[in-house]
C-alpha cells in the first residue's frame, strides 16, 4: 500500500511538471502574452516595461527556471489588475464555485441515476427511450443555452428566481459562523445556475448508471441470487445497486474536471462570482498573469484530485493496489 501511494505520488509530480511545462511552452508558441495587454497604438516603452516586469525579455531557459521556481514556492503570479497574488483571489472565489458545483452535482445525480437505473431494468421499453432522449439532450444542448432559456422563462417572464449573482451570504475564512450559513442560504440564487450546470452531467450520469447497472445484472452472482429465488426487489436494491455505484462514483469524480469547463460560461451568464468568472474577468481586463494563474491552479487541483481518487480506490479495492 505504501509503495503504491509512493508510486502514484511520483506519477502525480511528473504529471504536474509536464503540465506546467506544457502551459509554459504552449503560451510561448502561441503568441506573446504582452500582446494581450498592449492594445493597438499603445506606447512601445510601456510594452517594453511590461515585458521586463514579467521577465519576458530574458532567454527562455531563464524564464522557465524562474517560472518553475516560483510555482514550487506556491507563487502563481500576481494579478495585474488587483495587485494581489493569484492564489489569494483564487481561494477567495473557490467556495462559491464549490457551492455551485456541489449543487449541480446533486441535481445531476437526482436526475441521472434513478432514470439510468430504470432504463437498465426496463431495457427497450419507453422508460429506456426516455432515458436515451434525456441523455442525448443533456450531452447536446449546451449548458449556457439552457441557462439563457431558464433566465428568459423563470427570471424575466415569471420572475420566480433572481437572475444575477449569488445573494448576500458569503464565506468568510475567519468566521466559523459563516461556514454553515453560506451553504444553506440563498437557494433562489443557486437554483437556475445549478440546474444549467447539472443538466449536462445528468446526461453523462444517466449513461454511466445505465451501462453500469446492465453490467452488474449480467454477472454470475446476480444470476445466482436470482436462481436462489430471492425477490427481484431485493436483488436490485441489495446486490445490484451497490456494485453498480462504483463506476458512477468514479465518473462523478472525473466530472469535476469537465465541470470546470462548463462552469465558466454558466458563471458568466449568471454573474456567479466563482473561479470561472475570475478567469473571464482576467480575460476582459487583459490580465495575463491572472488567466495563466487560474489555468495553472485548475490543473494542479485536478492532478491532486486524481491522486486522491487513485489512493481512495486502492483503499477500497485491493485488486487496484496489487495490479501495480
Amino acid at each position: 500500500m505504501q509503495k503504491y501511494v509512493l508510486i502514484r505520488a511520483l506519477y502525480s509530480v511528473i504529471t504536474l511538471w509536464l503540465l506546467v511545462t506544457i502551459v509554459f511552452t504552449m503560451v510561448r508558441l502561441s503568441g506573446d502574452p504582452v500582446e494581450m495587454k498592449g492594445e493597438i497604438g499603445s506606447d512601445p516603452a510601456y510594452t517594453q516595461q511590461l515585458r521586463h516586469d514579467w521577465g519576458l525579455d530574458q532567454p527562455y531557459y531563464v524564464q522557465y527556471a524562474s517560472f518553475l521556481a516560483n510555482l514550487v514556492r506556491g507563487d502563481f503570479g500576481h494579478s495585474f489588475e488587483k495587485s494581489l497574488p493569484v492564489t489569494t483571489i483564487y481561494f477567495q472565489r473557490l467556495p462559491n464555485s464549490l457551492k455551485l458545483g456541489f449543487a449541480a452535482f446533486v441535481i445531476s445525480i437526482v436526475i441521472g441515476v434513478p432514470l439510468g437505473m430504470l432504463s437498465a431494468l426496463k431495457v427497450n421499453t419507453w422508460w429506456d427511450s426516455l432515458g436515451k432522449l434525456v441523455a442525448l439532450l443533456g450531452l447536446s444542448v449546451p449548458g449556457f443555452f439552457v441557462g439563457l432559456v431558464l433566465i428568459i422563462i423563470f427570471g424575466v417572464n415569471l420572475g420566480w428566481f433572481p437572475v444575477l449573482g449569488k445573494g448576500q451570504s458569503a464565506f468568510v475564512a475567519g468566521e466559523p459562523s459563516t461556514w454553515v450559513t453560506f451553504w444553506f442560504r440563498d437557494w433562489g440564487h443557486l437554483a437556475m445556475p445549478a440546474f444549467a450546470l447539472g443538466w449536462y452531467f445528468s446526461g453523462a450520469m444517466l449513461r454511466i448508471s445505465r451501462s453500469g447497472m446492465l453490467d452488474v445484472l449480467g454477472t454470475d452472482y446476480v444470476k445466482l441470487v436470482r436462481l436462489k429465488g430471492v425477490p427481484e426487489a431485493i436483488v436490485i436494491a441489495k446486490h445490484a445497486l451497490k456494485n453498480s455505484l462504483i463506476p458512477i462514483l468514479t465518473i462523478a469524480g472525473l466530472n469535476l474536471v469537465v465541470m470546470l469547463n462548463v462552469a465558466i460560461v454558466i458563471e458568466v451568464i449568471f454573474n456567479w462570482p466563482g473561479v470561472g468568472l475570475l478567469l473571464y474577468d482576467g480575460l476582459t481586463n487583459r490580465d495575463f498573469p491572472m488567466v495563466q494563474g487560474v489555468v495553472l491552479m485548475s490543473g494542479v487541483i485536478i492532478v491532486l484530485l486524481n491522486f486522491t481518487i487513485d489512493v481512495l480506490y486502492a483503499c477500497v479495492d485491493p485488486r487496484v493496489r496489487l495490479s501495480r
Partner: protein
Amino acid sequence: MAITFDDVRSVTTNAERARRLFGYMRQLPMIPLFVLSLLGFVAIFADVIAPHSELDPVKPTSAQCQALYGAPDCPYLEDVPPFWSEGGSLTTPLGTDFLGRDVLSRLMYGARISLIVALMGTVVAGTIGTLLGVIAGYMGRWWDQVIMRVTDAWLTLPSLVFAILLLSVRGPGMWNVVLVLALVFWSRYSRAVRGEVLALRERDFVKLAEINGISKTRIIFRHLIPNVMNTVMVLFSLQVGVAVIIEASLSFLGVGVPPPEPSWGLMLAQERDAMMEGKWWLAVFPGICISLLVLSANMLGDWLRVRLDPQLRNR
C-alpha cells in the same frame, strides 16, 4: 447454352435492387443526416441563399421608418421581432439584431463558421493524435513512455480553460480557434489509438510484414493506420459536437471568432442584454442552431459507434 454475365445480372430485378437500397437506407440515421446535410448545404451556399448581407443592416422601407420614427428615412431597424409576432415582417423572417442585421442571414453564415471551425479543428486534432498514438503504440519503449506521459498530462488540463489561455495569447480569430482546438483535443485520439495499436501489433499480418522486412513507416501507414480508422472515425464524430460547443463557448466569452463575424456563440453573447428586456428570439435562434448541430452530430456519432465497435453492439 453458356450463362453470360448479362443473364446473371438480370436475376436481380430493378424492384429488388430498389428494395435492397431501401432496406439499407432504413438503417441510416435519417434525422441527423437530414439536419447535418441541411446545415452543410446552408453553410456552403450561404452567399446564394441568404436573403440579406450578414454584416450590413437591412435597409428598411420608408413606411417602416415612418411608423417607428416619424421620419421617411432611417439607417436601420433594430430588434425587429420574427414574422409571426406583432411588428415583424417577412423581409426579415427571424427578425433583426441590435444593429438591424437580418438574424436569418447571420445564422446561415454562422453555420459556415461553426462547421469550418469544428470540422477543421477536429480533423487536425485527429491527424496529430492518431499519428502520435500509432507511434507510441507501435514503437513502444521510450517513444511510448514520453508520448503517453505528455498525453496524460495534456488530458488533465480542462479543455475550455486551456483553450482560453492559448487564445488569450494568440488573439481572437477563426483560424486561431481551429489551431487551438487542434492543440487541445489531439490527446483524446492518441490515447484511444495507442490502445488499439498495442493489440494490432501482435497480430499475424503485422508480424509477417515485419518478417518480410517492410519498413516501420510503411507498416504504420499501410497496415496500422487503416486498421485504427474505425476507432478514429467514431471518436471524430463524437468530438465534432464537443468542438462546436467549445467554439460557441469561446466566441461567447469573447476570445473566439471576433465580431462582426456571425458566430452563433457570439450572437448569443451579444444579445444577453436584449434578452433581459424580454426580446427572447435574439438569443433563442442561435441557441437552437447550436443544439441542433450538436444533437445531430452526437446522434450520428452514437450510430457510428454501434456500427463500428462490435464490443458496444449490445449496449
